[in-house]
Subunit: 328 residues, 2 copies
Amino acid sequence: MGGDHAPAVVVAGARAAWDEDGLPLVLFGPPDALGDAGPVPVFAASEVIAMDADPGASVRRMKDSSLVRAAEAVRDGWACAMVSAGNTGAAMAASLLRIGRIRGISRPAIAVGIVSPGGKPTVLLDSGANAECQPEWMLQFGQMGAVYSRLRYDIARPRVGLMSIGEESVKGNKLVKDAHELMSVDGWLDAVDAHFVGNVEGRDLMSPDLDVAVTDGFVGNVALKAMEGCLDGIVATLEQQAGDDAHILAAARRLYESLEPGQTGAAMLLGVRGVVMISHGSSSAWAITNALRTAQDMVRAGVVDALERTVGRAGAPAVAAPPGAPGS
Amino acid sequence: MGGDHAPAVVVAGARAAWDEDGLPLVLFGPPDALGDAGPVPVFAASEVIAMDADPGASVRRMKDSSLVRAAEAVRDGWACAMVSAGNTGAAMAASLLRIGRIRGISRPAIAVGIVSPGGKPTVLLDSGANAECQPEWMLQFGQMGAVYSRLRYDIARPRVGLMSIGEESVKGNKLVKDAHELMSVDGWLDAVDAHFVGNVEGRDLMSPDLDVAVTDGFVGNVALKAMEGCLDGIVATLEQQAGDDAHILAAARRLYESLEPGQTGAAMLLGVRGVVMISHGSSSAWAITNALRTAQDMVRAGVVDALERTVGRAGAPAVAAPPGAPGS
């Protein structure tokens, strides 16, 4: 029921995943509102959390909402993954309250794959789950991002960078300086077989030389949305300059489609005990299909198990924890 | 002497401003290194602060550097403005230590004009001068940005927004929530005849509906560089998709040239007692010429006087200061 064009595009995307891939899925929502779901089974949920509703309060109050019911299906094990294009905060709250965190992981983070021309996507996290962060959480974001980069984009030894405003370790604000110190301690990234490349800058987000960019949820969200706005603005400028030149207008369309947010499939909420994919609110049916496929891929790749093993409590004793680090 | 392609492109840009506009200027640097400056007078300065030198230490030690000498020329009143494409931190340090702050302005900020397709540029500040900020400084950034937006882009009543991760005033981190509260108090933006539109997001930076975006120097710098990287990445993707289609390749070139950072002329360091323009390190000769023209425009527009009058101590008593605000 979530998303700017819900439920029509969500249902259409789900039907395509069912028809084309035989992907086993179930839709949650008021059956009347969902319309014709074709062969896709519908699990009745009577309430809908609005896009602008208060996340925590609505998840606590609306126990029969599509989002809460979907999260419960993951918690109870009869669904392996959940996909939502709705209220991001509510999807996070439902995941935290119903599915729960992986033991030993301090805070879940939203991981977004940013398309890098000429290379594999760069995973940016946290993209908005935590507006305020601790340095220890950021270290874990780096670990989680590395695991995700390997399983989702098949990168053997991900290069992890810390977002700052200069490459030198003395640059940045206090949070970043503290996180840098923590991330420079040997062992922590070895545990997830990743390589710490030090501070990186905003320019590196679309670079093929970086696999994981770690930042707090405030900075990550601003940077991500700035890049989305930039794509829209640049394509609009190209179209404006094209006038009625159909050849260039077609190129502009192709350019947009290859880079628009739906292209990357969906963001994943890393650190909860289930696969939770968060699609862009403006997702097309095609983007929803793509998100469902990615969810299936991530279940098959065992990303939650891998996070539990390497970043969660089970993984922690294998490496020497610096003082004050989570799990120490 | 500063910039990735210095001094050749800087000298070329200066000569063009002299030849084409009759712009009265002087170059600072080792005369031998500067090469043929043509009719442009050269003021000998024996030292050069490197792009990666420690800003504070180098400005204190290298008293005969081109940057320090240029700042002294502004301080002593025989130059009205200074333009540098060099080490940004050093340009700031030289400005602070030699030229000094406007009385009553807590912290200078770097203001960058971001090209908005279909509208006038949006002024983003702080774009990197202050990695850590106080809410009171951010209120002043809003005021300085409004004055600058009016004088540089001729916007009668600038719309000022606060960068956050959601439009609601409760969204964001503590700094942004506190700044929002302060900026919502009547009077402060009236004093500079601006309009506070509340929280804005990364997407709004390239929107024609926003004139000034206020943020701390860490977030501003990351967002700005993310957008620069995005432009490079998008144009590279367009070129890649064009293959050997000369028509589209030409469109890609035109697109890049209309949006690249040099297009906006240069950033201005607002809050010091002189016009200080900071050009992108990768500036072309054309971008340097453009920065010199903008410097002249800003001197003629009386931007420093206007800031002193409305934001500095001279302007403060005209409005009721909320408790804890600067100047109260």
